[in-house]
């Protein structure tokens, strides 16, 4: 990437970051996996009760929320595509739309839960306890699973908001190289190379005895891409957002469509 050996090692490992994110997503998947396990067992024990209880849920609201979330996944993916192409403005707009859609989802959920509560259906409520056992379980699972999912949406929104402010506020990215062997850099040039090894940016020769080297990158397109940290971070946040979507893709039929 740059003209000296040492900078290459300091280079952030994007693939590593991505592996890390995927591994994290796996743990999230299994976290919900435990709930899906409970769901499948209780459903197989009480098919009829689940059937009846599901009738209490509003399919239209569920479908609407599905569409909202799918669309937010689209804008998320598009916003990453935009930053790939160096289009920071478009990226920010799409990201903002994603956040708004996520919020819509939660608002919907809020009203949905609110309606249930006002009907007296909430965990341990007297009204709920008068139901069949399978139905109590259905609602127990409904509240925990959608609640946990909603929590994930909320976290996603927060993460995306942080990303957005980062992209707005930090057009520059500073990197400080420190460590053993810096003195070897004396007299060298640092450079950022483009796709065909062309020098997109090059430093002055480094002259004094070097302790550390500080470089700041502008948010500048290199070829068609931007090589900055936000790029990878946004992508990993996107992965998280899509996973939350996938989980909803399962929750939706399991709770709303089994009437």
């Amino acid at each position: 990437m740059s003209a000296t050996g040492i900078a290459v090692e300091q280079h952030k490992d994007y693939i590593g970051a991505k592996i890390g994110m995927w591994l994290f997503l796996f743990t999230e998947l299994l976290l919900f996996g435990g709930m899906f396990l409970l769901y499948s067992v209780y459903r197989s024990k009480h098919p009829a009760e689940f059937h009846n209880a599901a009738a209490e849920l509003d399919t239209i609201v569920g479908t609407l929320n599905t569409i909202i979330l799918l669309t937010s996944s689209l804008t998320m993916a598009l916003s990453i595509a935009a930053i790939h192409r160096g289009n920071k403005r478009l990226c920010m707009i799409l990201l903002a739309i994603t956040i708004v859609l996520g919020t819509c989802f939660l608002v919907n959920k809020y009203f949905e839960w609110g309606a249930k509560f006002s009907h007296g259906i909430y965990p341990n409520s007297e009204y709920l306890l008068s139901f069949e056992k399978g139905e109590i379980l259905f609602f127990g699972l409904y509240f925990t699973m959608t609640g946990l999912h909603g929590l994930h949406v909320l976290v996603g929104i927060i993460v995306l908001t942080v990303m957005l402010t980062k992209i707005i506020n930090r057009p520059h990215r500073g990197v400080v190289f420190e460590g053993v062997g810096m003195e070897k850099l004396q007299g060298a040039h640092l450079a950022v190379l483009g796709e065909r090894d062309e020098r997109v940016w090059e430093s002055e020769a480094i002259d004094e005895t070097v302790r550390s080297v500080a470089i700041s990158f502008k948010y500048l397109p290199v070829g068609k891409r931007i090589r900055v940290e936000e790029y990878a971070n946004l992508e990993t946040s996107g992965l998280y957002w899509h996973l939350v979507d996938i989980i909803w893709i399962f929750l939706f039929p399991l709770f709303y469509l089994i009437t």
Binding site: L30, L31, G34, L37, G140, V180
Partner: protein, 543 residues
């Protein structure tokens, strides 16, 4: 105490003197250096181990004779719960990976640090918060939890004691464990030195890799289970409450889906340590490298399929009993393969009986006893008799303490000179080992006999016919005490007084022995290129 002591009195060399943004204690607790984090973990883990040990000791005192000896039943119940929780979640699961894995994994694969150093620090902080919550659970609410470390529903969702907080602590610790696993798996995928192919990687990283996957895939399940216990207590959602249609046996499934694989989180890294110690002190390459590496993966994989063997008498279906029993027996095979390969590694070696090797060989002996007793428990009809008796207590102390615990002590003695640049007093360390070994067997072997006689576990009081063996067991714990105290005293003293050693006191062959003791800040001035397997010793003739 600990942190400072080391920072100030350690030999002025290596990464110890490197100062970052902070100084003093802060240079440690905010450091992202994998070696410092490893040591932080080691100190915290050892402190908590001592707490757990004291609880174990108190239980033994109570059980020295029938009737009330030193405490009330409720106290006893809380003590074995805390003993179990501390030993499992705070000592043995993080134990080897977080302490020695952090310190040596990057070095052994030729990297400067783990893949995500800041996440690594976060994981230690999570660990500490878990500890704080666990301690808070002791002193707040209506009394310390009294459920046993298994938190079985519906008792755990009904008892008035402070279960929620303790469970929350375990939840946080789960997160810490997940982050460690995530970090190690990524590190091994991305940061192996050039030329270090998978099969040139030492076996300790191999075992950490397998462990990492178990941590990643099993821990979330206990996370959600514990959350559900909390929800159950707070909101009464009903998923484990029979009155609301919930099924308490499902709780056990979820619990053991994690906690059986968790026993392999405990033992795999210890097996990795043994695979490092034996070749070094036998001064020859390991026998059947690939088989040992693969068997780690096999244990991790198969180990995820056998959780039902904890539930043979719980009321789960007959079919499930049979399936899980069969699979339980199969998971013993890769362990057997490892044992045989280790023993064969001694063949035609040039063996020096250093303390680490003593621990490694006692590991094999004790782990075999523990593992073989595991086979008895896995046999359906036998399990019915010995389930939830002292026999089980004997089994898991043999595998956990005799296995992982001795592995931990072995690692401590093997890598002590590397970590601190000084050697401990070898004679004292051998004496300590002797007390530990004898005390250990005297403490836990009687439990097999008690269990076979029908002494149930988690019993505060017992019938007179069990007295003799309980008495013997308690005396064993006193011998064990002396060994432990001697061992730690020797090591702590050697931190300052020990003789200085060079980079390679044992004549090892893996990368950590190629850098100075203690290692410099970034481990390697230049990342090494690897062109051979991990265990090639100078002067060993090849065959």
């Amino acid at each position: 105490m600990g942190n400072r002591a080391i920072a100030e009195h350690a030999p002025a060399a290596g990464f110890y003197e490197e100062k970052g943004r902070f100084s003093g204690l802060f240079a440690w607790i905010f450091s992202t250096d994998h070696k410092r984090i490893g040591l932080l973990y080691m100190i915290s883990i050892l402190i908590l181990f001592s707490v757990g040990v004291v609880f174990g000791f108190l239980m033994r005192l109570e059980l020295v004779s029938p009737g009330k000896t030193i405490m009330e039943p409720q106290t006893y119940n809380s003590i074995f719960t805390l003993h179990g929780v501390i030993m499992i979640f705070l000592f043995i699961i993080p134990g080897l990976p977080a302490a020695f894995g952090n310190f040596f994994l990057p070095i052994q694969i030729g990297a400067r640090d783990v893949a995500f150093p800041r996440l690594n620090l976060l994981s230690w902080w999570l660990y500490i918060s878990g500890v704080v919550f666990a301690l808070l659970a002791l002193f707040t609410g209506s009394g310390p939890p009294d459920t046993g470390w298994t938190f079985y529903a519906p008792y755990s969702t009904q008892t008035g004691t402070n279960v929620s907080l303790a469970v929350f602590a375990a939840f946080i610790l789960g997160f810490s464990s997940i982050l460690t696993g995530l970090n190690f798996v990524t590190t091994i995928h991305r940061l192996r030195a050039p030329g270090m192919s998978w099969f040139r990687m030492p076996l300790f990283p191999w075992s950490l890799y397998a462990t990492g996957w178990v941590q990643l895939l099993a821990t979330p399940i206990i996370g959600i289970t514990l959350l559900l216990v909390i929800f159950e207590r707070l909101f009464g959602v009903g998923v484990f409450d029979p009155l609301k249609g919930g099924d308490p046996i499902l709780y056990q499934h979820l619990f053991w889906i994690y906690s059986h694989p968790a026993v392999y989180i405990m033992i795999l890294p210890a097996m990795g340590v043994i695979s490092e110690i034996i070749p070094v002190h036998a001064h020859r390459t390991i026998f059947g490298y690939r088989f040992i590496a693969y068997s780690s993966l096999a244990i991790a994989g198969l180990g995820s399929l056998v959780w039902g063997h904890h539930m043979f008498v719980s009321g789960q279906s007959y079919t499930a009993d049979v399936v899980f029993s069969l699979l339980t027996f199969l998971v013993a095979i890769p362990s057997a393969i490892k044992v045989f390969n280790w023993v064969s590694t001694l063949y035609k070696g040039s063996i020096v009986m250093e303390t680490p090797l003593l621990y490694a060989l006692s590991f094999i002996f004790l782990f075999s006893i523990g593992g073989l007793s595991g086979l008895m428990q896995g046999a359906l009809s036998v399990n019915v008799h010995i389930h939830d008796t002292a026999f089980i207590v004997g089994h898991f102390h043999y595998v956990m303490f005799g296995g992982t615990g001795f592995g931990f002590f072995g690692a401590l003695h093997h890598w002590f000179p590397k970590m601190f640049g000084r050697m401990y007093n070898k004679t004292h360390s051998r004496i300590a080992w002797f007390f530990l070994f004898v005390g250990f067997n005297m403490l836990y072997f009687p439990m097999f006999i008690l269990g076979w006689m029908g002494m149930p576990r988690r019993y505060y009081d017992y019938l007179p016919q069990f007295h003799t063996w309980h008495l013997m067991s308690t005396i064993g714990s006193w011998i064990l005490i002396s060994g432990l105290i001697l061992m730690f005293a020797n090591l702590i003293r050697s931190l300052r007084k020990g003789e200085r050693v060079g980079s390679d006191p044992w004549g090892g062959s893996t990368l950590e022995w190629s850098i100075s003791s203690p290692p410099p800040k970034e481990n390697f001035e230049e990342i090494p290129r690897i062109d051979h397997g991990p265990y090639e010793f100078k002067g060993a003739s090849k065959e």
